[in-house]
């Protein structure tokens, strides 16, 4: 099969010393980021971009980003299990049983099942990515502007409907991001839009600046705004990292189920690691012969979700690498990274840059193995990161953010934009508007408009072009379903007086 031949070439590239170092660096950084609450992979990649643009080629950069993406999922479980403070939102559900296991003296077993499950799921997801890449790309090469437009609309709708937060607030966040994407020079007509005469806005708002402002600045404001009221966390010692025979037996099936479910959910735009882990937990509780043990230290409640969140990271790379459509804030920042390197995304990415794609996929296998080694024996080291006082950590994050943004264009205006977007991010978060759709909208907005206009120019203004093709029509129908079905369900529930259930 062609994929196996291509992956061999990918390994030949990824095993070069420089790229092995990038994989190790990315994995270590990703784990550290996963351990530290509040800093996610999208922010980490945004902060790393100025470094990578200057120091490494695109292959090395994306190998590092892949390591960060997977590593953050591994690292998030460590703090969840040991101090009941999730380092990543995708590890929130692990706290239900992981911390309980730690309190029952089984912290080592919880960490082991999380790490081994993550390794297994990451490997499965990378294998699935490897197999699916070529068929997806072959299928996508037949897409025209109408199909692309419809798929991007579906992607944004999925993010809105199930990506997190109240759907109407998520919708506003998405639309806000799309409207931010309208700022600058219109590439088709050459017209300046929403620049208010400011030359620095002619190129629009940089996705990296927006990501750092929304995630880093708002996180710092929230972190320092709650510093004095945080309770002291009780760190449980990891202890021996061993699972009993019974624990191995109870973990294997959840690893398989979590991997499959996580990968499928990861492929869906917007339905990221958090949803994957929640659904995996619900599934494990449903199929378990002892559901009453969940919430009290059931190992299945750790094994399934941790496998799912890692598999979803691999799944999320499928639409990004094959269609050029990101499904999450991390994907949007990676898309911005592609654009920063002058690489066009879409189905031609695999054809024009096979070394980049196959090198990245091969390095994910390698990085996954590195992460297992980094996370199990070195867990004590990662936990030490939590001893950094937050009163020092947050100003350092702001410092690094400021330096990172300044190094992009050496523009003070960019820093003021960082400040302004940071305040917007803080306000959105304060009133429970999700931030990831803003970044996704900003990254996809210009592309969405371009495909929209191309479709209409090609059809000479005939709007039926969007429903003329089966793919475009199906995507738009699914979009409508995502919007209407929850409304109908809510209406039926309120009429019948049934309250929605929490998982």
């Amino acid at each position: 099969m062609e994929s196996f031949a291509n992956i061999q070439a990918g390994f030949a590239l990824a095993l070069q010393p420089m790229y092995l170092l990038m994989a190790l660096g990315g994995a270590a950084l990703g784990t550290a980021i996963g351990v530290l609450p509040g800093i996610g992979p999208s922010l980490a990649i945004s902060l790393l971009l100025p470094f990578t643009f200057q120091l490494v080629d695109p292959v090395g950069a994306f190998i590092a980003f892949g390591g960060i993406f997977y590593g953050a999922m591994y690292g998030g479980s460590t703090t969840t299990i040991l101090i009941n403070t999730p380092g990543e939102s995708s590890s929130v559900v692990t706290a239900l049983d992981g911390y309980k296991m730690a309190q029952n003296g089984r912290a080592g077993a919880a960490l082991s099942t999380a790490a081994i499950g993550s390794f297994f799921a990451g490997t499965v997801a990378t294998f699935a990515l490897m197999i699916l890449a070529e068929p997806f790309v072959s299928f996508a090469l037949s897409f025209g502007p109408a199909e692309y437009f419809a798929l991007m609309v579906l992607s944004l709708c999925t993010v809105t409907a199930i990506g997190g937060g109240h759907p109407s607030k998520a919708a506003f966040s998405t639309l806000l991001g799309l409207s931010m994407g309208m700022i600058g020079l219109d590439s088709t007509s050459g017209q300046l839009r929403f620049t208010f005469g400011e030359a620095s806005l002619f190129d629009g708002i940089d996705v990296v600046v927006a990501a750092i402002g929304l995630f880093a600045v708002s996180e710092v404001l929230f972190g320092l705004g709650n510093l004095r009221r945080q309770p002291e966390s009780r760190l449980v010692s990891p202890g021996p990292l061993r699972m009993t025979k019974e624990e191995w037996k109870r973990s294997i099936a959840p690893w398989f189920r979590g991997s499959g479910l996580g990968f499928i959910i990861g492929v869906l735009p917007g339905a990221g690691a958090t949803i994957a882990s929640f659904m995996a937990y619900a599934l494990e509780k449903k199929v378990s012969r002892h559901p009453e043990q969940f919430g009290k230290g059931a190992i299945e409640g750790v094994a399934g979700p941790e496998a799912a969140n890692n598999a979803s990271a691999g799944g999320a790379l499928v639409p990004l690498l094959t269609l050029g459509i990101p499904g999450s804030a991390t994907g949007a920042v990676m898309l911005a990274a592609f654009q920063g390197y002058g690489i066009n995304t879409g189905p031609l990415l695999l054809k024009n840059h096979p070394d980049l794609v196959w090198g990245l996929i091969a390095s994910l296998y390698i990085g996954n193995l590195m992460l297992l080694v980094l996370n199990l024996p070195l867990v004590g080291l990662w936990v030490k990161l939590l001893k950094i006082p937050e009163a020092l950590l947050y100003p350092m994050i702001l410092t690094l953010s400021t330096l990172g943004v300044y190094s992009l264009n050496r523009s003070i205006f960019d820093l003021y934009m960082l400040f302004g977007i940071g305040i917007i991010g803080f306000l959105l978060r304060r009133f429970r508007y999700p931030l990831a759709p803003v970044i996704l909208g900003l990254a996809l907005g210009p592309l969405l408009e371009t495909e929209f206009r191309r479709a209409l120019i090609g059809s000479r203004g005939d709007w039926s072009v969007f429903v003329g093709s089966p793919i475009a029509a199906s995507a738009l129908l699914l979009t409508l379903a995502f919007i209407l079905v929850p409304i109908l369900i809510k209406a039926v529930r309120s009429v019948s007086g049934v309250k929605p259930q929490m998982p």
């Binding site: 100025p50 409907a161 929403f194 404001l221 510093l227 702001l398 400040f419 803080f426």
Partner: protein, 173 residues
Amino acid sequence: MSGYSHVAGRAAELLFTVLLVIFSLAFIWYSTVIPDPPRNVAVGPRTFPFILGGLLLACSSFLAFKQVSQVFSGRVDDPAVEESVPVEDDAEIGDWSGVFVTLGAFLVLLLVLEWLGFLLSFTCFIFFLSTYFVPKKWKVNLLVAPVFATTFYLMFTKLLGVILPNGLLSSII
């Protein structure tokens, strides 16, 4: 926890949604003043922004209406039930003075950055903020702040070759 049940919290959210409506109206207005190209085209530069503006207005109006109806009915939606997946982090703020001090310090940093230079301004910034929140540890902060500021400065100037303003230290560095 529920900031939402508190009158001030609800008033603040209502004000925020009203601001979103105003933003949407402004966006639509600015879309209409974008000049169209002289030739007849199927879709000009204002079409997409106009559509987005309409959707923004519809969405923000719905959110404002929801807030107003909650205020008048006294009913508060439970975010845990309404959200498809919980928004990642706690939305409550325990120390608003800390937020304003941080924002103020950050703004001052940006204003003096080029005059004072990166090294001096970041040293002062890290020391000020860390000491404001943990005054007992001011000696540690005094030691750590210049070390971190210098490390970051060297990382960007020597490793990445980014030229950073040296400000008052221009004659020394």
